[in-house]
C-alpha cells in the first residue's frame, strides 16, 4: 500500500489544521488534492453517514441492479485515509460553525478547531409533500442505505410508482423494468428530464421507456399515497393506481444550513467565488452544496460528479495558496437500459439545435450552438461526439452547422 507522496512543506503550514464537513465525492477529492498540492498538516473529515466517501452514480444503476458489490463503491482503499494523515469522523453530525473562534461544534457538544474549513455538505433529497408520503414503502435514493432498502423490495411482478421523470427516477425505472417489475412513472412536467435535457432527448427517452414496458404519465402530479400501514395505491391526475412501493426522485436541495446559520451568504446553495471561497477568508465550499459563478458568467448550482471533483480541486488550490479560476466545462452522464447518455455544457432554450445521426439507430447527438459556437452537446451512445463537443465548448471554436450534421465527415474533422 502506498502512502500519498507528501511534498516539502512550508514553515507557515506547520500548525495549520484543515477540517472538512461532509464526506462525499468532493471531500475525497479535496483530501487527495490538498496532499498533492503540498498541504502537510492534519485533516479531519466529518461525515454523517457510517461510510467513508463513496461514489453515488452507481447507486441508481449497477449497484441497484445487484451487479456492483458495495466495497467497489468506496472512492479510496481502507488504509488511504490513515496513510494520508486524514482522520475520518463518521456517524458524526456538525451542529454549528463558530467563525470567530474558528471551531466546528459537533452534535455531541465536542468542538473541532480549524484554521481552514471546507464545506462539502452536498445536497439532500427533496421530500414529497402529499398525504401518505411518510407511509412505509415510500423510498428515496441518495445513500447506500436508501438503495439497500429499495433493493430488498425489488421483486419481479411487484408494482413500483416512480414519482419524478428525471435522471434518478428514470434510471430506477430502467433497472426496475429490467428486473421484471411493473413500472409507472409520474412526471408533473410535459416531458422527461425537462430540467436537464433538450426536448429531442426527452422524446427519444420516452420512446425507449415505453418500449421497455414502462407506463409514462406526463403532466401528472402525484396527489396522494394511500394504504393500510404501507403503500397500496397512488392517486395522480385524479386516477388511482395500484402500487406496492413508491420511489421519489424530485430533485435535491443543497445542505446549506450550517453555512447560513453561521452568517455566510446562501442563495439556494452556499455562495462561493471562482476560487470556491465563501465570504469568510477561512472557509471554502465545493460540490453540490455551492452556488458559484459558472464559466458563462452567471451564478449556477451544479449537481454532478464533475463539479464535485473540479471545484474541490480548485478549493484545495486556493487553500494551499495557489488559487486558480474554476471554469471547467460541466459534464454529466446517465445510464438507462443499454443507452449511455453523455452531456457536456449547459444548453439554453434559445440555442440553435443541430442533430447528428439518427435517433432510430439509437446512436445520435444533439449539439446546441450559441453565436456559432458549441455551447452544449448531448450524446446518446455517441462518445466521440461528446468528447469532441466538450473540447469545442472549452475552446470556443466556431463550427459550421452543416458539417456538424454531416455524418460523412468524421466528428474529429468537423471543426476543420
Amino acid at each position: 500500500m502506498l502512502a500519498p507522496r507528501r511534498k516539502q512543506q512550508k514553515q507557515s503550514d506547520m500548525s495549520e489544521k484543515i477540517v472538512i464537513i461532509g464526506a462525499g465525492q468532493a471531500a475525497a477529492q479535496a483530501v487527495q488534492s490538498l496532499r498533492n498540492d503540498g498541504f502537510d498538516g492534519p485533516i479531519t473529515l466529518v461525515g454523517e453517514e457510517p461510510y467513508p466517501p463513496y461514489q453515488r452514480p452507481p447507486l441508481s444503476k449497477a449497484y441497484l441492479l445487484g451487479q456492483f458489490e458495495r466495497a467497489r463503491l468506496f472512492l479510496k482503499g481502507d488504509d488511504y485515509y490513515p496513510n494520508a494523515g486524514c482522520e475520518l469522523w463518521l456517524n458524526t453530525r456538525a451542529r454549528a460553525i463558530h467563525r470567530a473562534g474558528r471551531a466546528v461544534e459537533l452534535e455531541d457538544g465536542r468542538m473541532l478547531p480549524y484554521d481552514k474549513l471546507l464545506l462539502t455538505t452536498g445536497a439532500r433529497v427533496r421530500k414529497l409533500n402529499c398525504a401518505g408520503a411518510d407511509l412505509p414503502g415510500v423510498h428515496y435514493l441518495k445513500t447506500i442505505a436508501d438503495v439497500d432498502a429499495l433493493q430488498a423490495a425489488f421483486t419481479a411482478g411487484r408494482r413500483i410508482a416512480v414519482v419524478g421523470g428525471g435522471y434518478i427516477g428514470l434510471e430506477v425505472a430502467a433497472v426496475a423494468a429490467k428486473r421484471g417489475l411493473k413500472v409507472t412513472v409520474f412526471e408533473a412536467m410535459d416531458r422527461l428530464m425537462a430540467r436537464a435535457v433538450s426536448p429531442q432527448l426527452s422524446a427519444f427517452y420516452a420512446g425507449e421507456h415505453e418500449k421497455a414496458g414502462v407506463d409514462l404519465r406526463l403532466k401528472t402530479g402525484v396527489e396522494e399515497i394511500g394504504g393500510h400501514g404501507k403503500v397500496e395505491w397512488v392517486r395522480a391526475g385524479g386516477t388511482t393506481y395500484d402500487a406496492d412501493m413508491v420511489l421519489v426522485g424530485i430533485g435535491v436541495v443543497p445542505c446549506e444550513e450550517l453555512a447560513r446559520e453561521a452568517g455566510l451568504a446562501c442563495e439556494d446553495g452556499i455562495v462561493v467565488d471562482r476560487n470556491a471561497r465563501t465570504g469568510d477568508p477561512h472557509i471554502w465550499a465545493a460540490g453540490d452544496c455551492t452556488r458559484h459563478v459558472g464559466r458563462e458568467g452567471h451564478a449556477i448550482r451544479l449537481e454532478c460528479v464533475q463539479n464535485a471533483i473540479d471545484q474541490a480541486k480548485h478549493a484545495a488550490l486556493a487553500m494551499t495558496g495557489k488559487p486558480k479560476i474554476y471554469s471547467e466545462v460541466p459534464w454529466f452522464w446517465s445510464d438507462q437500459y443499454d443507452l449511455k447518455l453523455q452531456i457536456a455544457g449547459l444548453a439554453r432554450p434559445s440555442d440553435a439545435i443541430v442533430q447528428r445521426g439518427d435517433p432510430a439507430a439509437r446512436k445520435f447527438s444533439v449539439f446546441h450552438l450559441r453565436d456559432g459556437k458549441v455551447a452544449a452537446v448531448e450524446a446518446v451512445n455517441a462518445a466521440p461526439d461528446y468528447l469532441i463537443g466538450k473540447k469545442l465548448i472549452a475552446e470556443g471554436t466556431r463550427v459550421d452547422p452543416a458539417r456538424l450534421a454531416d455524418l460523412s465527415i468524421p466528428i474529429k474533422q468537423v471543426a476543420g
Partner: protein
C-alpha cells in the same frame, strides 16, 4: 489475491493486489497510484484511465468492445497496446500482469 504491477512514466513501479472481478482502474485508484484519473468512476465515459499493456500480457486480455475502441481513439498518445483500465477485469489468470502508465491522461 492476484497482483498487478503499474509502472509510472518515470519508471517507478507499484505492485498491488487487485480483487478478482474488480477492474485494473479500481485497483489503481483505490491505492492512489498516480497517473490514472478515471474521472467517471469506471463508466467508460471519460477516457482518462489509459494504460499500455506489457506485450507479454496482451494476448490474455479480452478483446476491446466497440465502446472502448471508440473512447481510446480520444486518449492522448494512444499506442497499439493501449487499453482503458476500467474495462480490464482482474482474474486469477492475470496474476502478475504489468501495465505502463502514460505521462498524462488529458
Amino acid at each position: 489475491m492476484p497482483k498487478v504491477t503499474y509502472i509510472e512514466s518515470t519508471g517507478r513501479a507499484h505492485t498491488i493486489e487487485v480483487k478478482e472481478g474488480w477492474s485494473l482502474m479500481e485497483g489503481a485508484v483505490k491505492h492512489l497510484i498516480p497517473g490514472i484519473d478515471a474521472d467517471c468512476g469506471g463508466a467508460c465515459a471519460c477516457a482518462t484511465c489509459q494504460v499500455y499493456v506489457d506485450p507479454a500480457w496482451e494476448a490474455q486480455l479480452p478483446p476491446q468492445s466497440d465502446m472502448e475502441e471508440t473512447m481510446l481513439d480520444f486518449a492522448p498518445e494512444r499506442q497499439a497496446n493501449s487499453r482503458l483500465s476500467c474495462q480490464l477485469r482482474m482474474t486469477a489468470a492475470l496474476d502478475g500482469i504489468v501495465v505502463y502508465l502514460p505521462k498524462s491522461q488529458h
